[in-house]
Amino acid sequence: MKSTKFSLATKLSKAEVDRKWWEIGDFFRRNSLWMLMYCTGCCAIELPPAMTSAYDMERLGMGPMATPRQADILLVSGYLSLKTLRRLIYTYEQMSEPRYVVALGSCPINGGIYHDSHAVINQLDQYIPVDVYVAGCMPNTESVMNGFVDLMGQIKNKQANGWKKYHENFDWYKANQITSLGEVDVHDEFHE
């Protein structure tokens, strides 16, 4: 016998159920962002004030993590030399999904003051997808924090899809990596 007062909700399709679960997951994900700090360049100096009592990153649920497996954000702080980029790509591929990339400073955007160097790349988003750029040389701590808040907003609005893009355009990214780096893996006496 069916109650007249409460009618059962219409049966949701699988896609809708998945979407609902995804939104719940997004809530948790944006409130607990763990960073892997790949301190590649000088912008890393902005992180200590961001973490300690001046700006207190922990109140947003953020914190540093030791390994890429545990982390959500790959934090690229500063210029990327060719050698670092190889390791960065390797690390990025080891992270668990969903994963986000935040790049600090002007060097990952257009090369910055190293735009004509033979050893430093010019544009990070050609090799891995970047969700948030924080411009400045170097960006001050408020803008770094603002970048993280922007990322949270993007996750909420389902715009932080860099990791999906990486899957969709995997061949394009790989081709770019190979033009600039040759093979990503290095085989020589120091790695055998």
Partner: protein
């Protein structure tokens, strides 16, 4: 003071005893440089090592494209008589070859590999001198040669960001003046009290 100066003199005497250097630079009481011939390098290194210059501090090269020469530089240090000794020699740039010194200074192994990587100088006698060390999978001419153009390399290998708009400000001065005026007006408008 005199003692330290005599160290430099000691080195000078030691070198002159063996060869006749092209140039002798006494930079200060702790540094002295000699420019010698390519075939005298090993003899001098051996002599200096026996005299106490046991530390091979650095080995590198300088590119002189005008002369078509590479200048290979050896820097040695003695812990008892504090003097840096620079030995310099110029070698042919089109076919740069100089014998390895790892029999005298085994520590020079990685300096020679680095030098080969950045200048393309061959060091016969060092079994690994052609292997890659710092530049991983380099595919161009050695990057520290003067005829290498990093900008061209960067443009060729790394995608550049293209900007659709130009964000630089034109006639910035006038805007500054206008802004200052606006700010003054706003400050005036916020002033409380009796208006005049």
């Amino acid at each position: 003071m005199t003692n330290s100066m005599s160290n430099v003199e000691f080195v000078k005497a030691l070198i002159i005893q063996h060869v006749r250097p092209h140039v002798i630079d006494i930079i200060d009481q702790h540094q002295i440089g000699f420019e010698v011939d390519q075939n005298e390098i090993h003899l001098l290194l051996l002599a200096l090592k026996n005299a106490g210059w046991i530390q091979m501090s650095y080995l590198s090269a300088i590119d002189w494209p005008g002369e078509n020469k590479f200048e290979v530089v050896y820097v040695l240090f003695n812990w008892d008589k504090p003097v840096y000794v620079q030995l310099r020699t110029k070698i042919d740039r089109t076919n740069p070859v100089i014998d390895s010194i790892i029999q005298i200074y085994p520590g020079a192994k990685y300096y020679e590999r680095e030098c080969h990587e950045f200048f393309g100088i061959a060091f016969p006698g060092n079994p690994d001198h052609h292997k890659q060390l710092i530049l991983e999978q380099w595919d161009d001419i050695p990057p520290l040669r003067k005829d290498f153009d990093p900008k061209a390399y960067s443009d060729r290998k790394f995608p550049q960001r293209t900007y659709t708009e130009d964000y630089s400000l034109s006639n910035s001065e006038s805007t500054k003046v206008e802004k200052r005026k606006l700010r003054k007006q706003r400050a005036e408008s916020l002033k409380g009290g009796k208006k005049q």
